[in-house]
Symmetry: C2
Subunit: 429 residues, 2 copies
């Protein structure tokens, strides 16, 4: 079969007309499908229903240190929960803080604290003429939204299969004191599904930023979210805080995690790991901000998972549900788009997304066409600071929420629109 690049304009026009007819038929179906957010599907949520009964009215809600989970207190979380999250995050229990239900909210809080109070005695960021963050792209839209809200200038950093462009990161942070942070999703990155290499992580640990209040915002959102039972060796990542400690740089990183996509999103527990100095600095502010988080929910999660093995075996059940969906996307792309040689896509082994790279200048058009036919995708450009994909190429595919049948139809719409937008662009160019 000929590649699109090899076709004549006449041949392209013929295909175009076929595609337009097909799209008409698809439109007549009055679809209403949503592939826009990285939400778990119903079957995934059903996996965790026992969480609702693991504590009940007969349960002892007293912790081993005597803390009554029902009452006020225990800022930073109960010991049992910190223990569980410590093994999960591969950190020491004294470096763990447990928060409420949202790790995004914890990241926001860290930016807010730095903005208003500074970090470990530094000038509050709100008092500085300019604050900048490095943003590996494409990345997580909600990270970028936080920066935009605070007026933090975002600088794009290219992301590849081994992680962000570290030459660029090292150069920028060593030169510019107004660069205060970098957003990282080190494992199964959102949306590419890339996992940082050991070399990348070692270079992160050794960063020598000009700003003493520079922090790596290490959002390890998909740490146990493998699609295959035995995560391949290349999807293991080095534990960054330990690496930082090794090279005498322990304060440079804030690590974030949560159980949101492990059991119930929105009703999980979020946590953070950081150096002793950071924890001390953070708690100083946190104790003014709240009396404590939901300890009953912490205990609920401890009783439900018991230990890291409990979490891991639970995640294998998720993988069983998600694997066919990811494979359906990849197989459909392989089958339908192998001749469209100006597009490509990633093949993640975990996480919640597949990244699709359309022909430059067509992503917005594809998303708009899909929407017209009743298939909602993440907005083109959403994975870039200020919603600006310089190439208008990246589309985030979120296959987890729809069922297989809906996903099949949505992918039919998507691949049809990809081909049509590509041909249109080719003919115009």
């Amino acid at each position: 079969m000929k590649k699109y690049s090899e076709l004549t304009t006449e041949e392209l026009k013929k295909i175009k007309s076929e595609l337009e007819n097909k799209l008409k038929d698809l439109k007549a179906l009055n679809l209403n499908l949503d592939m826009s957010r990285g939400k778990p599907c119903k079957e995934q949520l059903d996996l965790s229903m026992d969480l609702m009964s693991v504590l009940d009215k007969h349960s002892d809600l007293i912790c081993k240190d005597g803390t009554d989970c029902r009452n006020y207190g225990q800022l930073g979380g109960i010991e049992e929960a910190r223990e569980l999250l410590a093994t999960f995050m591969e950190n020491k229990i004294e470096n763990i803080l447990i928060y409420g239900n949202s790790s995004l909210n914890v990241m926001y809080t860290m930016i807010m604290q730095a903005w208003v109070f500074g970090i470990m005695g530094s000038t509050p960021w709100c008092k500085l003429p300019k604050v900048k963050f490095l943003c590996p792209v494409p990345g997580y839209d909600r990270h970028f939204a936080i920066c935009e809200e605070f007026g933090i200038k975002m600088i794009n950093i290219p992301l590849s299969e081994t992680g962000p462009d570290m030459d660029m990161v090292e150069k920028l942070v060593s030169e510019d004191e107004s660069i205060k942070g970098i957003w990282c999703v080190p494992k199964y990155s959102n949306p590419d599904g890339y996992t940082y290499s050991d070399d990348t992580i070692r270079r992160f640990a050794r960063l020598k930023p000009k700003a003493t209040d520079f922090r790596i915002f290490w959002d390890n959102a998909y740490t146990v979210h493998h699609l295959y039972d035995e995560p391949e060796k290349r999807d293991h990542i080095l534990e960054i805080l330990g690496e930082c400690e090794k090279v005498g740089n322990p304060d440079i990183v804030y690590k974030f995690a949560s159980t949101s996509k492990i059991c119930f999103p929105g009703s999980g527990i979020a946590s953070m790991a950081a150096s002793d100095n950071n924890i001390k600095d953070i708690k100083k502010h946190l104790k003014i901000q709240t009396i404590g988080y939901d300890k009953v929910n912490e205990l609920r999660h401890v009783h439900y998972f018991k230990n890291l093995l409990g979490i891991k075996s639970h995640m294998m059940e998720h993988a069983k549900i998600l694997r066919p969906k990811f494979e359906l996307v990849l197989n459909t792309f392989d089958r339908e788009l192998s001749d469209v040689d100006m597009v490509r896509w990633t093949r993640p082994h975990g996480g919640y997304f597949i990244s699709f790279y359309a022909m430059h200048g067509t992503a917005k058009d594809i998303v708009a066409r899909c929407k017209e036919v009743g298939v909602k995708l993440t907005d083109a450009g959403a994975s870039y600071p200020y919603h600006k994909d310089p190439d208008d190429s990246n589309i985030r595919i979120a296959p987890t929420y729809p069922n297989i049948k809906d996903l099949e139809v949505a992918l039919d719409v998507f691949t049809t629109c990809v081909k049509l937008s590509t041909i249109n662009k080719m003919i115009i160019d």
Copy 2:
């Protein structure tokens, strides 16, 4: 019996020596009692254990509008929870936002948003040379701690049985644009247990502050926390947001409430009520701050309480436990301190505290003496901005947490120390 003021120095010295002997005996008991925080006691927590079973693994966690409580989304809370809190707060459902487990955290968030982003387009408070808050005193230490954290200058406003000194409030807010807020606990105030009069609340609604971004922080923490089954008429308060709307001043107030001292502190749901304009302004920022709060816990509370009547009858069970403790304090004070005519105390009909006013210049001494004998009280001065009680007189009595037996002993220590400190002060003066 002669009053202390009528005794000669010799008579005082004789009593003093008896008191010192008594204190020695009490010290020998090696007590370790805590009357420092407004925490519910175990029996109160036990009242709500059914909350743990009202939802279980067989429950339908889908809301009436189709929202799956287990998944992401529904910023501002599920409709069922907003409905319950709307009746509870006496506001319209569209003016209610549901948050996480801590109303203190919601108040902090409101200050933070104003600090970083301003209110409805006003200059962010962090850009202003000076920001001030009015603080009715004595008041809630954690309110004042938030101001101190942000560097907001606090101005004391005398609080009486009808509420804050409104002449002073009206004058100050109309003259000084840097005054941006006032902290109010309008019902069973912390620590006096005073309830604002209708006239006070109407004057609040009619305030004409110079600052357009001035807000009344209306922390209605004890709205249903009556000590007697039939709350007396004078402990009913006017609904402030409605009063503000009536006089065309709807944006001036932020109302806060939570279920923390109704079921489990730390595992409840917090909420806020505000005008349409405020809600719109707040949500604009909130949607960056989090994806949503714990909806399963919201649904749990809805199923548990069902409606306002459910909350009210539940609170009558709390009253049965708390009433004897409050009465024990008051009876002990009446019995032991009626001759100490330079001290007084409040007689609340609800809430969590009794305010004790020692002879000027003795509060710190009393608290220190109690501590030495193993009875921990709230620090003297804690109920004042910057921990500075100008009279060194107020001591917050928190009788809810200890059991009756411990409370009896603690009160014996307390009244002994009060008498001793008073006599010492009298002799020195």
